[in-house]
Amino acid sequence: MALFQRYKKPGPLKPTPNPYPSRFQFWRHSLLASFIFILIGGGALRFYKPFYDPLQDRLFEGVAWLQKGFLQPFHETSALLKDAHKFIYLKDEHGRLKLENENLHKEIQVLRPLAHENAVLRKMLNVPSVEVIKYTAARVLSSPYDGLHRFFLIEGGEKDDLTKDQPVIVEEGVVGRLEKVGTHVARVLLLTDVNSRIPVVTSLSKEKAILSGNGSFLPNLVYVNDVKKIQIGEQIVTSGLGGIFPPGLPVGIVDAVENSKIKVRPYVPFQRVEWVQVLKIHPESFYKEINTALEEE
């Protein structure tokens, strides 16, 4: 086959001189000896924490930075093509946005008195005001997936005041939480990942449970008090327990209940997510409060 042209027919075998004049030379060229040497050396360093942890952090930072550089031209090209597409359909887009703007104006006119009424009633009933959570938008650099771990690498890190365990959401619902934060790049643990556990509550049956990722597209609902109460199509929202996710964020719907196994279909289309919002919640303060309360007890 012309595909591999380098192949030459082997000539007659000739006796060759011994390539290893000494025993040391032989072991130096031995694949097995190198394998064992690297394995023992690497294995020893693997279990030496003061070396392993910083190395892991540095490697993550370096690899993410390299990937960012590698993907930059592709992102730029994609953005350029999208811009060109928008430019072509600019007139249609303008008309659509104008209509949407008019509708939103009408909606605001209806909602403004309601908001005022709500504020007055809250004040009369002494209901604590709802805290407005700030957020940062971050672009998704890539979504590496190798059959088990599924996560996003996002453009943003410690320099953007991101910290570990902050919730990550999109318009449709919960994406996951920040698992590792570097200086410029962070890794998002998606709710479908095997390591993901999110405290949730069902909207109709009000059953509290844990949404457990399993590496597939449909995570499981575990630790449910009464499985029979769960209905297919029921909405799942965050319960607010655990201190990471605020309550009421949409997660997904119950897709199937088979042999007490409850499958949940997430709202977020993970394949199409380009931007995410990181909620500026600091779970460390929550952990500190819990620890203090436990110590006092």
Binding site: M1, L3, F4, Q5, R6, Y7, L31, L32, S34, F35, I38, L39, G42, G43, R46, Y52, L55, Q56, L59, F60, G62, V63, A64, L66, Q67, F70, L71, F74, S142, S143, P144, Y145, D146, G147, L148, H149, F151, E179, K180, R187, V194, G215, S216, F217, Q271
Partner: protein, 156 residues
């Protein structure tokens, strides 16, 4: 001149890194390309020029992969080095002019690798799809690598 020749010999290792970048950034449908896509250049160089894939280099590439894919550091390094160790004995059974045989060999190699990998990390169907994707993409990637191989061999 020696420096250029040494740099050119590093290109096979860079081809592995390139595959990791490509494979981790794109997917076919909802299923992953990795780790089967990484195995294509590994297998190609192990069959045609194993001396261009030194164990130390494979170790570093494995660290890169593990770091990107959120595995414990060293897992992929171990698997890649193991592949390099089993490469030479298997190589003697292959004929470079018989492409279907080489292709079949890749199917066996990647199947064995992914089976072991799947057993350790407990991944299932997605890895199988990745294996099928790898087998389908093998001729294309091998064709590109054969051209790179030819160019490197010309100057080294």
């Amino acid at each position: 001149m020696k420096l250029i020749a040494t740099s050119l010999k590093l290109l096979p290792l860079f081809s592995l890194l390139f595959m990791i970048m490509i494979g981790s950034s794109w997917q076919i449908g909802a299923f992953p390309l990795m780790p089967a896509l990484l195995l294509i250049p590994v297998y190609y160089w192990l069959v045609y020029h194993p001396s261009w894939l030194p164990l130390g280099g494979l170790f570093v590439v494995g660290l890169f992969y593990d770091s990107l894919m959120n595995h414990g550091l060293g897992l992929t390094s171990f698997f890649l080095m193991l592949s390099a160790l089993f490469g030479p004995p298997i190589r003697s059974y292959l004929r470079p002019d018989k492409f279907p045989l080489i292709w079949f060999g890749f199917g066996l190699f990647s199947g064995g690798y992914l089976l072991l990998y799947g057993l350790i990390i407990s991944a299932g169907f997605a890895l199988f799809v990745s294996w099928v994707n790898g087998i389908i993409l093998y001729p294309l990637v091998a064709w590109v690598l054969s051209h790179l191989h030819g160019r490197i061999q010309k100057y080294v």
